[in-house]
């Protein structure tokens, strides 16, 4: 009897313990385990959305790619209204782009999406749409990384060239998947970007232009392709891709009459790919482009808002022809910024301060890219280059020009500076041409180590294969 009871009790205990693993099963509710998160279409789509969301970070297109490109270069001066971006304006040591973390986060998110789509079986069209966007976003991030941390193929100082950036192409959902941080050669990085863009283009297919400009489309792929090829010095490809863009895109070229008002519209008509910001997606009032560039909260405001730290360099302002319509976007600030020229390309377009959609690829850039690429292919291409250049000039209210040789190049670059001012091009344009940055707060020669950004110390410390940039 007693024995029986003991046996029964032991059996109960054993049964209870064999159910152990089950008893400890518990799952978070506001998060999903990565093993199941990306196993269905909804999950993968949502994961792709978060890659776009990552680009909104202030170290990427939320602010830095645009504002720092101006602050580090000769387009802007610092107002001293607040300490934000002071050191960047002075080109201080380490005061540079700091996009490493967020770019690689976005790349990993894109990698995870690509891996997940390929691992499952999904409807082909849906699968292609997702893959196309993910490849494009990965390519965009790699190009932004390589132009910040490495020399561009068109202007390299061999002595200080430590390569491109590490290529991470596998989604990390387990520590074992973390690869080496060895910097790939610059060419390899560009090859990879080309490869991604080719895949993006073929996957996206025709007819998805309705998604433009806030989602990736074939036209966006082609426009980015043209830009990347320009940085690479692969000029025929620039021309091909620019041509292809113009065929594919539904964006419309602003006219002289609409030039200013188009910038005040919520969606810029020239946008081929534009990063959208909804109310909940703001980067904060002290970091938004609006508050970085302007002292007004809205276009018509009369009171000083906050910040307004990056103003147009008066020397640059003076370069605009008085009849240039583009100069109308530059206005005197208010309050303590009343003596500064401010750029009004980002002025609360959604009607709410601190929210501004950021055009990443815009039609004017495509023409300017093509003009430059045509120029570099030799004198026989000058007429075509002049066509593109004069399209930009006349639209601004300037007369047509007929130039050749270096004068043509300089004019193309000048119009590029005028048209794309405060949109995040100037620093990179100087850098890829190997030009010195001449500015009031102190020149930065192309040979200076500060042309390249410092790779975050923690990364270089963690992986000895990752070679830090010169002098950092």
């Amino acid at each position: 009897m007693k024995r029986n009871i003991l046996i029964q009790l032991s059996l109960c205990t054993v049964l209870l313990l064999t159910g152990c693993e089950k008893l400890l099963e518990i799952n978070p509710k506001q998060s999903i385990d990565s093993s199941t998160a990306l196993t269905n279409e909804e999950g993968i789509s949502a994961a792709l959305i978060s890659v776009y969301a990552r680009l909104q970070n202030y170290t990427l297109y939320g602010r830095d790619y645009l504002a720092l490109s101006e602050a580090l270069s000769d387009n802007a001066i610092h107002t001293g209204n607040a300490s934000h971006l002071t050191n960047e304006s002075m080109n201080g040591r380490n005061a540079h782009f700091d996009n490493w973390q967020m770019s690689y986060y976005a790349i990993n998110q894109a990698n995870l999406v690509i891996d997940a789509v390929q691992a499952g079986s999904y409807e082909e069209k849906w699968k292609a749409t997702i893959l196309g966007q993910a490849y494009f976003l990965r390519a965009l991030c790699y190009h932004d990384l390589v132009r910040v941390y490495a020399y561009d193929p068109t202007a390299i100082i061999d002595e200080y060239n430590y390569g491109g950036v590490p290529l991470m192409l596998v989604g990390v959902d387990d520590i074992s998947k973390i690869g080496s941080l060895k910097r790939a050669p610059i060419a390899d990085v560009y090859d990879q970007i080309y490869k991604d863009l080719d895949l993006a283009h073929s996957n996206l297919g025709m007819g998805n232009e309705t998604a433009a400009p806030h989602r990736v489309t074939q036209a966006a792929v082609s426009a980015l392709y043209a830009r990347v090829a320009l940085y690479r010095g692969d000029y025929p490809t620039v021309v091909d891709m620019a041509d292809r863009t113009l065929i594919e895109t539904k964006a419309t070229f602003s006219t002289q009459a609409t030039y200013v008002s188009d910038w005040l519209k919520e969606v810029h008509p020239e946008s081929i790919f534009e990063l959208k910001f909804n109310i909940s997606e703001n980067v904060g009032s002290d970091r938004s482009l609006r508050s970085t560039y302007t002292s007004r909260a809205t276009y018509d405001a009369t009171a000083f808002s906050i910040q307004a730290v990056v103003a147009v360099d008066p020397l640059f302002y003076d370069l605009y022809d008085p009849s240039d319509v583009r100069r109308e976007l530059i206005r005197k600030g208010v309050g303590k910024s009343s003596t500064f020229w401010e750029m009004y390309k980002f002025i609360s377009k959604n009607g709410t301060p601190n929210l501004d959609n950021v055009p990443i690829l815009r039609l004017s850039e495509v023409y300017l890219n093509r003009a430059e690429a045509l120029y570099y292919q030799g004198a026989s291409y000058y007429p075509q280059a002049l066509d593109d250049l004069n399209r930009i000039r006349t639209r601004a209210g300037l007369s047509e020009v007929s130039l050749s040789g270096n004068a043509l190049l300089e004019e193309i670059l000048m119009q590029r500076r005028f048209d794309l001012a405060f949109e995040g091009h100037r620093w990179f344009d100087l850098k890829r041409h190997g030009r010195d940055v001449m500015k009031g707060s102190g020149n930065v020669l192309f040979t200076d180590y500060r042309i390249l950004a410092r790779i975050p110390i923690r990364e270089a410390n963690a992986d000895t294969e990752l070679k830090q940039n010169y002098n950092y």
Partner: protein, 1134 residues
């Protein structure tokens, strides 16, 4: 000391082994002395046995009669076997034979057979029943017996030595015995020293009994069972109801402070009911938690602090008056029965239970006042303005006095025409003092308890209302506790505890501990400029929306009065326990319990204050609904072993789940201040909710073996799983083994009254720690991201499927001693605790898409020595003096990090070879006597005006002191004289270095527009050659030329926070029993108490006793210091 008087109810006689559960010291209870036992006599029994244990006879009696048999295991253990052959004999005759020459006696009534201690020199048990015969010629002597605290003592044996008549006290401690004046009464009760009292009057004899430490078989709760303290081999600290009562603490963890060696208790903030930091034997973890787990009556309770508005103590829902005892399992040998969660120690809380007997009513009331401990000496108006003037002059050497004064006037918003005479006449307003107030406190307690022989109950309720010493803080608590036990059948008993509590706390901004909010009185008030009036002439607040001059522009009292920070914590926890005696020596115990809380909080920034004005009032409402479910199933088995060997085993499983649903909503834009609900908010600004949970499963085996109460051996094995860990590492095995040897029981110890107990203990064991994020081992996708209005998900964390327990291995050696006829008692312990596989966030490359991963890395060791020493220094006549002292020494050291790192990336205070919470700061060298500028040491030990930054590491960290105490403890002295008791309790902490960050703010002496401590003003450098540590005032705090600020975070602000504190004095008076019996009361106590009365310390800030920590820094900025409190109370029992 513990006085656990438990009434033992044993339906079935068991073979006399020491049962695990049934080891309570036995006090019994016999009001029915003269009851007839005729009914029993009629029963005729057969019995036949040769050399059988007495228990077998008793079992036969119980089986064959209707009697219930009551006994104490210890008594039975002393008996010898008997040989009896009877046929159809009355029960008396059988018992007479069985108890012949036994060291114990029995008492028979019509329903019960009770085993009792032998009354000396009695001829036979028959004589006892013939008491009336011999007392015919005698008168009745009447009296009352109680303990030193005035509690009635029942079951005390009273023997008249002259006529050998004996009796026992009844439930009210009253006795009546035949005798006459001049007789000598021998008074005896197990656990108390024997007394002889000469009869001087026939009635109203009042006898006080004193606890005898050696004899007292104190019983300690050891987890799933109880054990005699004498036989425990692990390291356990305990306090009892009496200690808790005398602390008069708001929360139970406060009552532990200074009374348990190896348990370091620190306040976090000085508001009533605030959270407390408890650490057992030093910090054993770097980033996982270091708090012990709390178990109330077998149910783990949630000790997470939920909201951040008001400092709330998660244990505040237990009324300390309801607690019978608190035990802290300190070493692994004791704690590993709780396995995985026990690395930081286990706090076992046992609530008071009812006792059989007539209803007992206890009423308590106390009232008192709280006051701030200390205020700082601040600059007055003239000193501040002068310092400000000097700072302008020093920063701008070319300025004239007029220029400097003009700047001072303009920023102070004085007219530019102000004269120095006018300044000299300006008053000083004491903002600091205005932040503090004298609060009142009231507490009411009521408890009813009692029961029958089958059931017992205790119902208690309490209400407490305490105001804090800082404006706007209060604590209100209502509790109800119900304990109920019932024997449903002979084999099944159910027990249940239910505790309901409602706690409500208000606090000003910053009452969470530390703050830098400008409207927080504890933070801002000392720094508000002293020339600003607090009140207008009409008595209203001198408030303006535009704000005051200076950095601290807000009227904190106005804000505190209008804003509302409120936390409400309603809780229900309870358990249901089933005890089933399957066999005589096999018991099954099942428990289910639930701890449910409903915590809500609200923060309302009134639109009339600066805080809320710009946004038309802001309201955030928070909620947290944590729920903990526990169930455990334990089998106790006591195998039959030969004499003097006892073995208790238990095997069990336990399952716990925890979950919490939390959220908050913020709205703004209220029509006006009368609208304080979200319904009236113009805009809902944000809303969020979250859910988290954890599950744990454990099974355990424990065996305690003793031989002759001389040698003890204990082994524990627990196999524990937690959902927090990786798939293959969810379970861990936690073993422990310990042994004890009581030398005093050996024959070679000849003088047993000199050495009453000398127990050597040694133990080794392992425990775990899983206090990390609930889902730290998982790779997770989280939401909350959107693009273009579409919801996205992204990988938030990189999981580590290899994540496993933090593991603590503790070796403990201890000696428990009782010497010199129980006059001196205590223990000595030495331990070495090594914590391995520490859970640390290891940075991983961003290029992988994440910033960190939690891994098991690193090792920390804690070593310590603990001494407890108690003594009855005086025990003569009516005067008793008992002293208890404890001291704990500890050393902590990080012994290993990962990858040969000597400093933890991201936290340079964690470094190999140093203690945790080490300060690594630039080295302050003082003030350059020639220039008055602050200087530091650089990396080469040279003086510099510009020390390096933390990241670069180019300063000299000469001295790396730490925040952990070198030793700490407490000292209690208790004096009893007749009904008067006085206890004086000191608590101390030595060797704690503290970074006084608040002093950083208060040391600016005119460097900026804030007021500060007068000491810095008085000692500032003013003339060349002056040797001082305080730099000259300079506007902006930094000298020209890129020099570092004088208030740079550096060793300049490290302070010795050692202290000795007169924690409490309690003076109580128990009304004489003779008075009380006249009014049918059993006890009445009046007491006066003062807490935190006096402190000796070198610490210059508010209070050295508080604990704060952040991820990388320690800051006491805005801390609310502990308060002094004074109580008067009365406790009545009838």
């Amino acid at each position: 000391m513990k006085l656990l008087s438990q009434f033992i109810l044993c339906r079935r006689v068991t073979i006399p082994r020491v049962g695990t559960r049934f080891r309570y010291r036995f006090v019994f209870f016999m009001a029915c002395f003269n009851l007839s036992h005729l009914a029993v006599c009629a029963q005729l029994l057969d019995f036949s046995g040769k050399n059988v244990p007495l228990a077998v006879v008793l079992k036969a009696v119980e089986d064959k009669t209707t009697l219930n048999v009551f006994y104490n295991q210890d008594m039975l253990a002393k008996t010898h076997p008997v040989t009896i052959h009877v046929k159809a004999k009355p029960i008396e005759q059988l018992l007479e034979m069985a108890f012949k020459d036994q060291p114990i006696d029995y008492k028979l009534t019509d329903k019960r057979l009770v085993l009792v201690e032998k009354i000396p020199n009695r001829q036979s048990s028959m004589a006892k029943n013939n008491r009336e015969v011999s007392s015919i010629q005698e008168d009745k002597v009447q009296g009352r017996i109680r303990d030193v605290k005035g509690s009635r003592l029942d079951g005390v044996t009273v023997l008249n030595e002259r006529n050998q008549v004996a009796t026992r006290t009844n439930a009210d401690g009253l006795f009546e015995i035949s005798g006459r004046v001049g007789d000598m009464l021998a008074i005896r009760l197990l656990g108390y020293g024997q007394q002889r009292v000469r009869v001087q009057k026939m009635t109203g004899i009042d006898i006080v009994m004193i606890v005898d430490e050696a004899e007292l078989d104190e019983v300690i709760v050891t987890g799933y069972a109880t054990q005699k303290k004498r036989e425990i081999t692990g390291s356990i600290a305990s306090i009892n109801a009496e200690d808790i009562e005398s602390a008069n603490a708001v929360t139970l963890d406060q009552a532990m402070q200074g009374r348990m060696s190896g348990v370091n208790v620190q306040s976090r903030v000085g508001v009533p009911g605030a959270a407390i930091k408890v650490e057992v034997r030093g910090p054993g973890s770097i980033s996982a938690g270091t708090e012990p787990i709390y178990i109330v009556d077998g149910l783990i309770v949630d000790n997470n602090n939920m909201t951040t508005l008001v400092s709330a103590n998660p244990l505040a829902n237990i009324n300390p008056e309801d607690i019978e005892s608190i035990e802290v399992l300190k070493d692994a040998a004791a704690a590993s029965v709780y396995g995985a969660q026990a690395a930081n120690g286990v706090v076992l809380i046992t609530t008071k239970k009812g006792k059989s007997g007539r209803v007992k009513v206890d009423l308590g009331y106390r009232t008192g006042a709280v006051k701030p401990i200390k205020l700082l000496d601040l600059m007055n108006t003239q000193e501040y303005l002068n310092a400000r003037f000097e700072s302008f002059k020093n920063y701008n050497p070319t300025w004239t006095d007029e220029q400097a004064w003009a700047s001072v006037f303009s920023q102070s918003r004085f007219p530019s025409t102000t004269t120095l005479d006018e300044i000299a006449a300006m008053p000083t307003y004491d903002w600091q003092k205005a932040a503090y107030t004298d609060g009142a406190t009231n507490k009411y307690d009521l408890a009813l308890s009692g029961g029958s022989d089958r059931s017992s109950y205790r119902i208690s309720g309490s209400w407490e209302d305490t105001e804090g010493s800082i404006v706007g803080s209060d604590f209100t608590r209502g509790t109800m506790n119900l304990n109920y036990g019932n024997k449903i059948t002979d084999k099944i008993e159910i027990l249940s505890t239910v505790n309901i509590a409602s706690v409500r706390q208000h606090g000003p901004l910053g009452s969470t501990g530390t703050t830098t909010q400008f409207s927080a009185p504890s933070y801002a008030n000392p720094m508000i400029l002293p020339f600003i009036p607090i009140y207008n002439e009409d008595g209203s607040y001198n408030f303006t929306l535009a704000g005051f001059p200076g950095t601290f522009a807000r009227h904190t009292l106005h804000s505190t009065e209008l804003n509302e920070a409120l936390e409400k914590n309603n809780s229900l926890f309870g358990n249901l326990q089933l005890n089933y005696n399957i066999l005589d020596n096999l018991k099954y115990k099942a428990l289910v319990g639930l701890d449910y809380r409903d915590i809500t909080a609200r923060m309302y920034y009134d639109p009339r204050t600066i805080d809320g004005n710009a946004r038309g009032g802001i309201l955030t409402e928070y909620y947290d609904r944590p729920k903990t479910f526990t169930t455990s199933h334990v089998l106790h088995y006591t195998p039959r072993l030969p004499d003097r060997h006892t073995l208790n085993t238990l095997v069990g499983v336990e399952y716990r789940t925890y979950e919490n649903q939390a959220g908050n909503v913020t709205g703004e834009g209220f029509p006006n201040h009368l609208f304080k609900q979200l319904a009236s908010a113009a805009t809902i600004v944000s809303g969020t909710s979250s859910w988290t949970g954890v599950k744990r499963l454990g099974s355990f085996v424990q065996a305690n073996y003793t031989f002759d109460s001389k040698y003890m051996l204990s082994a524990i094995l627990r196999y524990d799983g937690s959902s927090r860990f990786g798939d293959n590492n969810k379970f861990g095995l936690f073993p422990a083994i310990s042994a004890g040897w009581d030398l005093a029981k050996e024959d070679f110890v000849t003088n047993k009254t000199l050495i009453n107990q000398l127990k050597l203990r040694i133990g080794y064991g392992e425990t775990g720690n899983d206090q990390i994020d609930n889902f730290a081992s998982r790779s997770l996708y989280g939401g909350g991201v959107t693009y273009d209005g579409e919801a996205g998900i992204q990988a938030n964390s990189l999981g580590n499927s290899k994540l496993r327990w933090e593991r603590n291995a503790t070796t403990n050696i201890g000696i428990d001693y009782t010497l010199f006829g129980s006059r001196v008692f205590g223990s000595i312990e030495a331990y070495h605790r090594s914590s391995k596989d520490l859970l640390l966030s290891k940075p991983i490359v961003w290029a992988a898409g994440y910033s960190e991963i939690t891994e098991n890395l690193g090792e920390v060791k804690n070593q310590g020595l603990e001494f407890e020493l108690g003594a009855h220094l005086m025990r003569s006549g009516d005067f008793k003096w008992t002293s208890n002292f404890n001291i704990s020494f500890q050393r902590n050291e990080v012994t290993r990090l990962y990858d040969d790192l000597t400093v933890l990336p991201g936290d340079n205070t964690v470094r190999v070879g140093y203690a945790l919470r080490t300060f690594v700061l630039p080295q302050y060298a003082g003030v350059h006597a020639a220039t008055g500028r602050p200087v530091w040491y650089d990396a080469d030990g040279n003086l510099t005006y510009t020390p390096g930054t933390m990241e670069v590491g180019n300063y000299a960290p000469y001295d790396l002191p730490n925040e952990l105490p070198d030793f700490y403890g407490g000292w209690t002295n208790a004096f009893d004289y007749k009904g008067v008791s006085l206890s004086v309790f000191f608590q101390y902490d030595y060797g704690r270095i503290f970074y006084d960050n608040f002093a950083r703010n208060l040391s600016r002496k005119g460097d900026s527009q804030i007021n500060g401590m007068a000491w810095y003003y008085d000692n500032r450098w003013t003339a060349e050659g002056q040797i001082t540590s305080v730099p000259r005032p300079v506007n902006g705090a930094a000298e020209r030329g890129g020099h570092a600020r004088g208030d740079l975070a550096s060793t300049r602000y490290l302070q010795d926070a050692s202290y000795i504190r007169l924690k409490n004095i309690n003076l109580s008076y128990n009304l004489p029993a003779s008075w009380l019996s006249a009014i049918k009361m059993s006890s009445t106590k009046l007491y006066l108490q003062a807490n935190n009365l006096y402190t000796i310390t070198k610490f210059a800030g508010y209070d050295p006793e508080f604990y704060v920590t952040g991820s990388n820094t320690t800051s006491n900025v805005g801390i609310i210091p502990a308060m002094k409190s004074y109580f008067f109370g009365v406790q009545v029992g009838f």
